[in-house]
């Protein structure tokens, strides 16, 4: 256990020395001033560095090993993107700077929007959404505004398969729309007949991840999107799985009207321990008038930042989005170029299918009726008879030096293990991962306690999540 930073405090210490105040003092009225100390740490710079560096050593990260989190696309984060995004003149500009003084930032944003439209097959883009969930919200709002404008404001239902990401229904609620769940068929694809039954005069939009959350391409996509269009709804693609599709197929060519992208997945910007990401939205031109504030337009006088206009859905954030993340994604696409971007999806597919083929003798792969895309869902259900749960398998992988796959999602697969290797893993590292998975399958058979006791090679043993909820301790008690 590592002491908290507060426990290193020594009264009077600080890690920052400011220049002496060079102006006369004006007194702060006592009525408003803070009565008691805040309770911040009192430590020197070197103490701060030692503390946070020690903490950092307790994290798993991309450079430590395979990070096969399905749906999360944990690929390598190129270092030069970090370097470039920190260029002083890009990082140190105020968001309300006049356009003529930020032409560099605006050009990057404008060009990135163009790249993303080309990759998705759409006409317009907004870069403002801070993350995928805000992108989904943007997409649904564009559709809702469009429906309202054509006198169809009564359409208040969003259809989505029961395998959808949790953000899809949560976003629908935020957009004031009702969720109608569409069944999956026996292969894990959208049940087209069920969709046909449920699409109708109340349908505002249909949300789908394609490839879907089982890593399966929705082969009837044309039929699916037509059913929704015929019912008067629009099609939204959750672009979480775009890493499978670049240069292979585009949502714009599948009958979708709008999609978001996760730059922190497909376009290699770092996850940061949970964020920041960026969730740009691309759409067809008839939805463009409703886009949020902060678009960039190219004019003969230079690049211009647009504010919210008449029909715009409004503002999602105070300013123009996670611009620093946008710089990184731009750099990534430039470094890879067309060939490199296409290669990403090709190798992502090969790596995922290779893992599926190697693991299938040991782990059940439900819904397996052909090649998967960039990920697949295995099941730990077979180990249950020895009392080994998928959670245990996940924890045991940590002992072997790998991160665990996404577990218990999608909800329609029992004991789900959702595995996405990404293109940045070598054959050698994939084989090492397979070896560990096989070893765990054998342990589950022969020495199940090794699995249920896991992890043991980690900075802490398995943590008690029930206690964390029952005895809530969300902040450090004040010392002394």
């Amino acid at each position: 256990m590592e002491k908290t930073i507060f426990r290193h405090s020594c009264p009077g210490n600080t890690g920052v020395a400011l220049p002496e105040l060079d102006v006369p003092e004006t007194s702060i009225p006592g009525k408003y001033s803070r009565k008691a100390p805040i309770g911040l740490p009192q430590v020197t710079e070197n103490q701060v560095l030692r503390h946070f560096v020690r903490l950092s050593t307790k994290n798993f990260n991309i450079e430590k090993g395979v990070y096969p989190l399905g749906s999360c696309t944990m690929k390598y984060n190129p270092r030069m993107n970090e370097y470039l995004a920190r260029t002083e003149n890009l990082a140190a500009v105020h968001p309300l700077s006049p356009d003529e003084t930020v032409q560099g930032s605006l050009e990057i944003m404008h060009r990135l929007g163009g790249f993303l439209c080309e990759i998705t097959g759409f006409d317009s883009a907004t870069l403002q959404p801070a993350a995928g969930a805000q992108g989904e919200f943007t997409g649904l709002m564009l559709i809702k505004k469009w429906q309202q404008e054509r006198g169809q404001g009564h359409r208040n239902e969003v259809l989505m398969p029961d395998s959808s990401h949790g953000t899809n229904p949560a976003t629908s609620t935020l957009a004031g729309l009702k969720v109608v769940s569409v069944k999956s068929d026996e292969h894990g694809r959208v049940d087209v007949e069920d969709l046909r039954k449920k699409a109708g005069e109340k349908t505002c939009a249909f949300m789908l991840t394609n490839p879907n959350t089982l890593g399966i391409f929705e082969g009837s996509i044309r039929e699916i999107t037509s059913i929704v269009h015929d019912a008067g709804g629009l099609n939204y693609m959750d672009g979480a799985n775009m890493n499978a599709m670049m240069g292979i197929a585009r949502p714009g060519d599948m009958g979708f009207d709008v999609c978001h992208l996760n730059l922190h997945k497909t376009f290699s910007t770092p996850h940061g321990g949970g964020g920041p990401g960026a969730g740009p939205v691309c759409c067809r031109d008839f939805l463009a008038p409703f886009l949020p504030a902060s678009g960039v337009r190219k004019t003969p006088e230079g690049y211009q930042l647009l504010d919210k206009s008449g029909k715009s859905m409004g503002r999602l954030l105070a300013f123009h989005g996670n611009v620093g993340v946008l710089y990184r994604a731009y750099a990534y696409i430039r470094l890879l170029g067309r060939e490199g971007i296409e290669e990403v999806s090709q190798v992502a597919l090969i790596n995922a299918n290779y893992l599926k083929a190697r693991l299938k003798p040991y782990y059940e792969v439900p819904n397996d009726d052909g090649p998967c895309m960039h990920e697949f869902v295995a099941s730990g259900a077979a180990m249950a008879k020895k009392g080994v749960k998928t959670l245990d398998i996940a924890k045991r992988l940590l002992d072997y030096g790998f991160h665990a796959p996404t577990i218990y999602f999608p909800l329609i697969v029992k004991e789900a293990l959702m595995i996405e290797p990404t293109e940045t893993e070598s054959l050698e590292s994939l084989d090492e991962f397979v070896d560990a998975m096989i070893a765990i399958a054998e342990e589950s058979e022969e020495k199940p306690h090794l699995v249920t006791d896991a992890p043991v090679n980690t900075p802490v043993l398995r943590l008690d999540e029930v206690k964390a909820v029952k005895d809530l301790a969300l902040v450090e008690e004040l010392e002394g």
Binding site: L21, Q42, N59, T87, G273, I333, V347, N351
Partner: protein, 448 residues
């Protein structure tokens, strides 16, 4: 051939063989022919790092704003950022890690967030804080939604002296459901019109949302506001500036029920608007209605202290349509920047930053109103930011000052054509402020 894809032709062929197909194209059979892309993507050819550095240098050259001396705030502030912060943030263990769902191998991130939550709770005077929101404005909108859940009421009162961008975001988030937002006017002195608020609150409201200090930099009377809205069964939501809280009373100690704000001033670069980070704190009474991730302390099987994400049933991945919010990815790395900043500055240094902002903004204010024709707009006490009225159109002054190398305050046309919102942080020197005042003064003289 990407420099981030290790497998070469021969390995790929080996993998295809194990998969049981002859060529890559065979993996595409699930994708119907009619949706396959039949052309090459129209993207530029790849460039090397060397070339891309040159390209970025060209972009950077055209970002002349970075060379300006900044007197502009209005939601983003030019504060000093110690070098040590980036040193922590660029550690691969922090910036390439995923959300800490596998707690046993994420103790670094989890403990850092737990410490961040503690610092935010102490700074705001609340019981607990979450692991962060996207930015201050979306945090304010989420706080309004949270107040609606807590109280069961559907009407929000928002101060007319909120940052207009925050009001915009609140509308974006709230207008989709049967919720309403009523704007409370401000008095001639710029402070919230509490008697108008009282009238608007009649019949009950979920929350009164006020900014502290307000958009105009003014220090509102939180206790009076709290009393008023509590009397109507609503919550007081305060959108606070964290640097101000280094000097001013914590909103949680003055009756606020939810305190949110923009964390950018605490060690996050202005970066043309993002990534920033919103903070959110509240009392334990309302914790189950809080949106976003929360870290809690617990024990492992051997009784050692450890940290996990907790109260997860509030979140979208479990409660789906009934979740407290749709937020998933947040701005965790920026929250880490806040935690490192607050550790480095600490009790002593953070108070000093706050104190210097107070004195420097007051120095600038007093120097400006010495200029013939420049007048204060409000007479209430302010922190770090204030509005003055110029005898010339503020946009004209802005352009003229730009030529002299200054990013002036922000013109506020709603308060008159000469109105300008200015700030001076601890970074501005007396010399810079004097030059700025001289430049403005001679511009005004020239116009006259």
């Amino acid at each position: 051939m990407s420099i981030f894809v290790p497998s070469r032709k021969e390995q790929r062929e080996r993998m295809l063989e194990v998969i049981g197909v002859e060529r890559f194209q065979d993996l595409l059979t699930p994708i119907p022919e009619d949706v396959r892309l039949r052309k090459d993507l129209d993207l530029p050819p790849p460039v090397s790092e060397l070339e891309l550095r040159k390209e970025f240098r060209e972009f950077a050259k055209r970002n002349t704003a970075a060379d300006l001396i900044c007197f502009r705030g209005a939601g983003a502030y030019d504060h000093f950022i110690p070098a040590a912060i980036d040193n922590i943030l660029t550690r691969s263990e922090f910036f390439t890690a995923y959300t800490p769902y596998q707690a046993e191998v994420s103790q670094g991130t989890l403990q850092a967030i737990y410490e961040y939550q503690t610092m935010i709770a102490r700074l705001t005077g609340c019981d607990a804080a979450n692991a962060c929101m996207y930015d201050g404005s979306s945090a304010a909108a989420e706080a309004a939604l949270m107040a609606i859940r807590v109280t069961g009421k559907k009407r929000i009162l928002s101060a007319g002296s909120l940052n207009p961008r925050t009001i915009d975001v609140m509308h974006t988030y709230l207008d989709n459901s049967d919720f309403s937002i009523n704007e409370v006017p401000f008095l001639e002195n710029g402070l919230l019109d509490l008697s108008a608020a009282g009238k608007l609150a009649e019949g009950g409201a979920a929350a009164l949302v006020i900014q502290y200090p307000s958009y105009f930099g003014l220090i509102e009377d939180l206790e009076a506001a709290a009393e008023l809205i509590h009397g109507q069964g609503g919550l007081l939501v305060v959108v606070a500036d964290p640097v101000a809280l280094g000097s001013l009373e914590a909103p949680g100690h003055a009756g606020a029920d939810i305190v949110v704000g923009e964390g950018q001033p605490m060690g996050v670069p202005m970066s043309y608007g993002g990534p920033y980070v919103g903070f959110m704190a509240t009392s334990m009474d309302h914790i189950r209605q809080m949106p976003g991730r929360i870290v809690g302390r617990t024990e492992d099987r051997a009784g050692n202290t450890g940290y996990v994400l907790t109260l997860q049933t509030r979140e979208q991945h479990i409660k789906r349509a009934k979740a407290t919010s749709n937020i998933c990815s947040n701005q965790a790395l920026m929250a880490l920047a806040n935690a490192v900043y607050l550790s480095l500055t600490g009790e002593v240094g953070f108070a000093e930053v706050s104190r210097q902002c107070w004195h420097k903004s007051h120095y600038l204010f007093h120097r400006l109103i010495e200029i013939d024709g420049v007048e204060p707009v409000f007479d209430a006490p302010f922190f770090r930011e204030f509005v003055v009225k110029l005898p010339v159109p503020a946009e004209d002054a802005e352009k003229a000052l730009l030529k002299e190398g200054f990013l002036s305050g922000l013109p506020i046309p709603g308060l008159g054509s000469g109105a300008m919102l200015l700030t001076a942080t601890e970074k501005r020197t007396r010399g810079e402020m004097d030059l700025f005042v001289d430049a403005l003064s001679s511009f005004i003289k020239g116009v006259k």
